[in-house]
């Protein structure tokens, strides 16, 4: 049992939420709790950094959708950074690739957000 570590850090235009470890039935509720504490304003970006994610089950997928809903409810946008290769297949399977934009890194996600402004 490796568990999940959640870290949030503010960036210029929003918040980065990093999920490290196993995102499953046991740990997904913590993502929902953390989301409640992340305040976003219209136009900001929530970047979910998955570079250190080692496992994700259906509850984990649900928590990522909750993150999307949380961002959209504040008129903010959401981007996933460093989606692990093994998760790409699952994303395609559940159709998440169509509703969650992914970038190779958090920097790339930020760059995309800046471009959007121009």
């Amino acid at each position: 049992m490796t568990g999940l570590t959640l870290t949030t850090r503010p960036i210029e235009h929003g918040v980065v939420l990093q999920l490290s470890g196993e995102l499953d039935h046991h740990t997904a509720p913590r993502v929902l709790e953390t989301l409640k504490r992340i305040t976003l304003t219209a136009g900001q970006q929530l970047v979910v950094d998955l570079s250190r994610l080692s496992f994700c089950d259906s509850s984990g997928i649900a928590s990522l959708v909750a993150a999307r809903n949380h961002a959209l409810a504040a008129d903010a946008t959401i981007a996933l950074a460093a989606l692990p290769a093994w998760l790409t297949r699952v994303f395609r399977m559940v159709g998440l690739d169509k509703v969650l934009v992914t970038y190779p890194t958090t920097q790339a996600a930020a760059a995309a957000w800046s471009r959007r402004l121009r």
């Binding site: 039935h25 089950d57 259906s58 649900a62 909750a66 399977m93 559940v94 159709g95 169509k98 509703v99």
Partner: protein, 423 residues
Amino acid sequence: MSAAGREAGQPFPEDDPHAEAAMFSTLLEDSAEDLYDNAPCGYLSTLPDGQIAKVNATLLRWLGYTREDLVGRRTFSDLLTVGGRLYYETHFAPLLNMQGEIGGVALELRAADGSRLPVLVTSTVKTSADGQPRLIRTTIFDASDRRAYERELLRARQEADRERERLQRLVTTLQHSLLPSSLPKVPGLEAAAYYHIASRDEVSGDFYDLFPLSRERWGFFLGDVCGKGAGAAAMTSLIRYTLRAAAVYDPDPVTILDTLNTALHQEYRGDNPRYCTALFGILTPDGDGFAITLAGGGHPPCLLLRADGTADFQPTPDGMLIGMLADATFTATTIRLSAGDTLLLYTDGLIEAHTATTGTVDGRYGDQALHTFAVKLAPTTATETIAALAELLTGFGDGLDDDTAALALSVPAHPPADEPTTP
């Protein structure tokens, strides 16, 4: 100390060392005799043959005897209950003789009125100059509080066990109400199902069903609700009835999943959204087998194990997680289930099982391993597939930490052509 003295109503000024010394000397004048008799524990001295030689007032009070009742007349073992006496003679006394002391033994004393007093007993042997035992000194502590505490603890534990059993009965009943009690008989089809619940305390979010739609048409589904427990059970119930009702109304798998998506999206929104993944299929007899229209929403693809020994995943691409978006899209695929073919539907507990043997990068049983398993098995039947799967999953042991459901449908192979039999 002086502060404590003041609180107890003894007016010694704290700056007067003489007054403080006087208080101590008053305490020290407390006679050893009085301390012995009225100590907060029982004292008992017995001769090596067990005869009671001396006993303090505390113990006499606890037991309701007078000094005359006991001294020179009774032995220590006379004060014990029958069980205690047995233990005393077989264990306590021999150990005491051997070691010269024994401590913390729980015994029960019998009072004059017949009541029992749980005690903790400590004894030491006093020896003479030549090493011969002269006297046994015994200290007795009242352990009724401790015994009551232990009884309370035991009662709480039994209560918790009963609650847990009740919860497990409730979970089992609820679980059964969410699954078909037995699969219906479909002419020309063999069907088998498997169900593994990871926890006996929580309702699983996996579900499946096979049911008639008309004389010539059957519906089946299998899916997985994100999460488990009471919330997942309520959602599973909604899913099951929505799917069954929608199938009767319009037997098109894509429309049925659309209906379910709308129902779930309306019901579960906000901070704790819930979704499900599912495969829904319609079976129609077709020649010697069945034509299957299958739609999927975010669910792992099913496996077709063919009569010719091959096996392939049957993807339903672009099917989204059901309930996630108001306008989710689902797609259907058609599968022909011919004689000797088996279709296997499963939930992700299977591909996510932790295993040490499959050699996947992340130590979990993956698609590739499942495909290999299917190829080895084909050609097969629904019953055989489920049996092999059950064996595989049992092999995972504790590695199977998620609930797992599987549904297999097969068309019996052609009976071997009647070969001309030579007499």
